[in-house]
């Protein structure tokens, strides 16, 4: 694996105490050159931190196994290249740790940095560097050790709920369209309405909008409209002053005040009763409000994001949601499709959750077996991404190997028609997928078979025949 370069040989430093001892011996020994290579290779291969060396031209001369794993670059491709071409780090241009060490002759310890691994993933690391010289003091290059901090960062984000766009996992067409809008949405202060079914990741998107905006260093406050009683809505949202009512012993700031300068999210905004819809409309229109009992008008310097698992336009047409409030909320409207309509995202989401639970549970699960992945790819996921997350978490509980298999998945994902773990004939898999597609199309068309047939690109008679074959009815709902 290593290039056999001389920088890997132990450096003789006069002031250094004896660093290497032969196992079993009591004192330092002079090793044979041919043994040195194997000796150091074994040591470097066995450690968990990435280690590499560069020559004076920044060309990589050695690259250990952990460095391969963290960067995603095989040693044979890394060696000979400049380190910046392998690491693509944020510090390459503005504060290269190796350059500082070579220029100042000082070792650096645990400098925080981010590199890009080859699949295009940002990896947080900490870097330590030292100069390499030969026995006569001639500069050979430098050595860098680096530690992957992904798991630590993931846990920190989990604890602090500091999710970023990196936590929005999706490369489907629908998500790419949303991502394309993010530069404009982040820059503007426009109100954003996020629609999507339960568990589809609306909160993550709301957080991403906040974290990408100039308000990201200011508060992020969520108001759950469904959980807030109508009688308390005003006092919760606007706050009150001392003496506003019997129990108002002191001033209490409302959620809008708490979100001052930041973002306020109205979660499940469709659940707002009509009386409170008017109050919210006024805040959106005037950007002003009065805390209960106060005679002073306060200015609301907040960005508003609303989210709902229902189509607000439908509620407007049914007369259950004010149209003026709807238009105020939907300046920018983002729609997250259900997971069954973006199945191509499932492998990315699985990888994301596996990494997350590895960090949380201290496990080393590598992923899913092809059979288990196939089961997930066929599943309708009525609970969307949240359901997938629960499935992976369930798998983590049962799996004691490196790969989560079908037997580690919840029972409802192992229907009798395909026995767990047993490979099915291709024909039956195809039929299962077809039945699932028909079921989903009927559900989307609310049982209108003509519409479902049109979506599937088959005529109504064919659809009816296939439904009969698979035992489906017009009242089908996606199977879980």
């Amino acid at each position: 694996m290593f290039c056999g370069c001389n920088v890997l040989q132990p450096v003789q430093q006069p002031r250094s105490r004896a660093a290497w001892r032969n196992p079993g011996s009591q004192g330092p020994v002079a090793m044979q050159p041919e043994r040195d290579q194997a000796f150091f290779e074994t040591i470097l291969s066995s450690i968990a931190d990435g280690v590499f060396t560069v020559d004076r031209d920044w060309r990589i001369t050695s690259f250990n196994r952990a460095a391969e794993r963290i960067t995603g670059v095989p040693a044979e491709q890394a060696i000979g290249r400049r380190c910046s071409d392998v690491f693509h780090a944020d510090i390459c241009e503005r504060g290269c740790a190796l350059r500082q060490t070579l220029e100042t002759n000082r070792n650096l310890i645990e400098v925080p940095a981010r590199i890009l691994s080859s699949p295009g993933r940002s990896v947080p690391i900490s870097v330590s560097t030292a100069v390499l010289r030969d026995g006569s003091g001639t500069l050979l290059g430098a050595v860098e050790t680096f530690r992957d901090l992904s798991a630590i960062e993931r846990l920190r984000r989990e604890i602090d709920h500091q999710y970023t766009f990196e936590d929005i996992v999706g490369r489907s067409r629908a998500f790419r369209r949303i991502f394309a809008l993010l530069p404009d949405i982040a820059e503007s202060d426009a109100t954003v309405l996020i629609e999507g079914p339960s568990g589809s990741g609306k909160e993550l998107l709301a957080r991403a909008v906040h974290n990408l905006s100039p308000r990201r260093h200011r508060p992020y406050v969520v108001v759950n409209c469904g959980a807030l009683p109508t009688a308390l809505f005003e006092s919760e949202l606007f706050g009150y002053v001392q003496g506003a009512f019997t129990d108002a012993k002191r001033d209490k700031p409302g959620r809008i005040t708490l979100a001052e300068g930041g973002t306020i999210v109205f979660d499940e905004v469709a659940d707002l009763p009509p009386a409170t819809q008017v109050k919210l409309l006024r805040v959106l229109q005037e950007r002003e409000y009065e805390p209960l009992g106060s005679v002073k008008t306060a200015h609301a310097n907040v960005r508003v994001v609303a989210s709902t698992n229902r189509r607000l336009a439908d509620l407007v047409s049914e007369g259950r949601f004010r149209d003026d409030l709807y238009f105020r909320l939907s300046v920018v409207r983002l729609t997250i499709p259900p997971l069954r309509e973006r199945r191509e995202d499932i492998p990315y989401l699985v990888e994301h959750f596996v990494q997350r639970f590895n960090a949380k549970r201290g496990k080393q699960i590598a992923g899913l077996t092809p059979a288990a992945m196939e089961v997930l790819m066929r599943h309708a996921f009525p609970g969307n991404v949240r359901e997938l997350e629960n499935v992976i978490e369930y798998g983590f509980v049962l799996c004691h190997n490196r790969l989560i298999d079908v037997s580690h998945l919840p029972e409802e994902l192992q229907p009798a028609r395909h026995e767990a773990g047993e490979p099915q004939p291709a024909a039956s898999r195809l039929q299962w997928a077809e039945a699932d597609a028909i079921r989903a199309a009927i559900a989307r068309a609310d049982g209108a078979l003509g519409k479902a047939a049109e979506e599937l690109g088959i005529n109504r008679t064919t659809l009816w025949r296939k439904m009969k074959r698979y035992g489906l009815t017009a009242a089908e709902r996606p199977q879980h």
Binding site: H88, A89, S117, P183
Partner: protein, 128 residues
């Protein structure tokens, strides 16, 4: 057409998101007719996306880039030739000769499911 290359001196910047200078070249009939260098103080990757979009850039040649931002650029209609390294002038020559293509410079499977860049420098392609 407009071609953008984040640069670090005479070389392609190692990482698109953190590049301090983005050079935009105006290409007409396979010749560079103008060049503007944008110095970026901001550390925000989105500012780089906005710059390319607002300048009407057609193609970006860059080093490393997060998949998220690459998707975003592609969605804005920008062709991205990523994971390229080497001398900017040499890369320009290769591009004008039609030797740099999106996806061609992309990654090949490495150990443990990892991937590694196929192209390692201007005019130098590593077999995977």
């Amino acid at each position: 057409m407009k071609l953008a290359i984040p640069r670090f001196g005479e070389e392609v910047a190692p990482c698109f998101e953190y590049s301090a200078t983005i050079a935009i070249f105006i290409v007409e009939r396979r010749r560079i007719v103008d060049q503007i260098d944008f110095s970026l103080q901001s550390r925000e990757a989105l500012d780089r996306v906005r710059l390319l979009r607002d300048q009407g850039v057609d193609t970006l040649i860059c080093g490393g880039v997060q998949a998220f931002f690459e998707d975003m650029l592609v969605e804005h209609g920008i062709t991205v030739i990523s994971w390229v390294s080497g001398n900017v002038d040499e890369l320009l020559r290769r591009f004008l000769r039609g030797q740099l293509k999106p996806g061609k410079e992309r990654l090949s499977e490495g150990p443990g499911g990892a991937v590694a860049a196929k192209t390692v420098g201007a005019g130098e392609t590593r077999e995977s």
